[in-house]
């Protein structure tokens, strides 16, 4: 089975990740997911593709910490986080988060918390390619 936390160039399967999460416990009553995708339009410009740079070892370690923190904070039964790097075209997947808990509230809140924390804590940067040139993305609140 694939690791619960991964940084990878290739696309991922949401179904596979959810199946792996479900397989970890039959006590799971709720699974919440977040899928982050590449937009083809940003700040008034068309975006053809997004490329990612990451401090790989630190980013993976921070993602693992994030998963453990979420499991503890929300009493999750399991969680999975996959983030792509390299080049991603408009409409393609970037990040997938799945949180499984006995009940829906913990799963939903944890999923929201993980993506918000990921943006604050994990050293990954995105650069958008537009007809006007390339530009590093300024983070949104």
């Amino acid at each position: 089975m694939k690791d619960a936390v991964r940084i990878q160039m290739e696309d991922f399967s949401q179904d596979e990740e959810i199946r792996a999460l479900q397989a970890s416990s039959k006590r799971m009553g709720g699974i919440a997911t977040f899928l982050g995708c590449a937009r083809d339009f940003s700040e008034g410009r068309e975006v053809s593709e997004i490329s990612f740079d990451a401090y790989g070892s630190m980013a993976l370690s921070e993602l693992k910490n994030l998963r453990s923190d979420a499991i503890e904070k929300y009493g999750l039964l399991d969680a999975r986080i996959v983030h792509r790097i390299g080049t991603v075209k408009g409409g393609e997947n970037i990040v997938f988060i799945a949180a499984g808990a006995e009940h829906r509230v913990a799963a939903l809140e944890a999923c929201r918390w993980i993506i918000d924390e990921l943006k604050q804590r994990v050293p990954i940067w995105k650069k958008e390619s537009t007809p006007q040139g390339e530009a590093w993305v300024t983070p949104h609140p």
């Binding site: 982050g36 990612f52 740079d53 990451a54 401090y55 070892s57 630190m58 980013a59 370690s61 983030h83 970037i94 990040v95 993506i115 990921l118 943006k119 604050q120 804590r121 994990v122 050293p123 990954i124 940067w125 995105k126 650069k127 590093w136 993305v137 300024t138 983070p139």
Partner: protein, 79 residues
């Protein structure tokens, strides 16, 4: 030596992904930042975070051992 890593927008402004800084007894993370910020002011304008040996550092007075790996980073934009 201290290995200094740069990524994304900071690396672009520096013109490279890594530099070496000579280690001196008692050198602190802030000293390395000050030294490099004087050489690369445009890059350090956007530096918001620092890491030492793969972990976030908030206290810039952290002493650095020889062969440390540090990073000066812009705000993250993953996800």
């Amino acid at each position: 030596m201290i290995k200094v890593l740069f990524f994304g927008p900071v690396a672009e402004r520096i013109g490279g992904n890594a530099l070496q800084v000579e280690h001196r007894p008692g050198v602190r993370l802030q000293d390395v930042r000050d030294e490099l910020a004087a050489q690369y002011p445009q890059a350090f304008e956007i530096v918001c975070f620092a890491a030492a040996n793969g972990e976030h550092v908030r206290d810039m007075s952290l002493p650095l051992a020889d062969n440390s790996e540090v990073a000066f980073m812009a705000r993250f934009s993953g996800g």
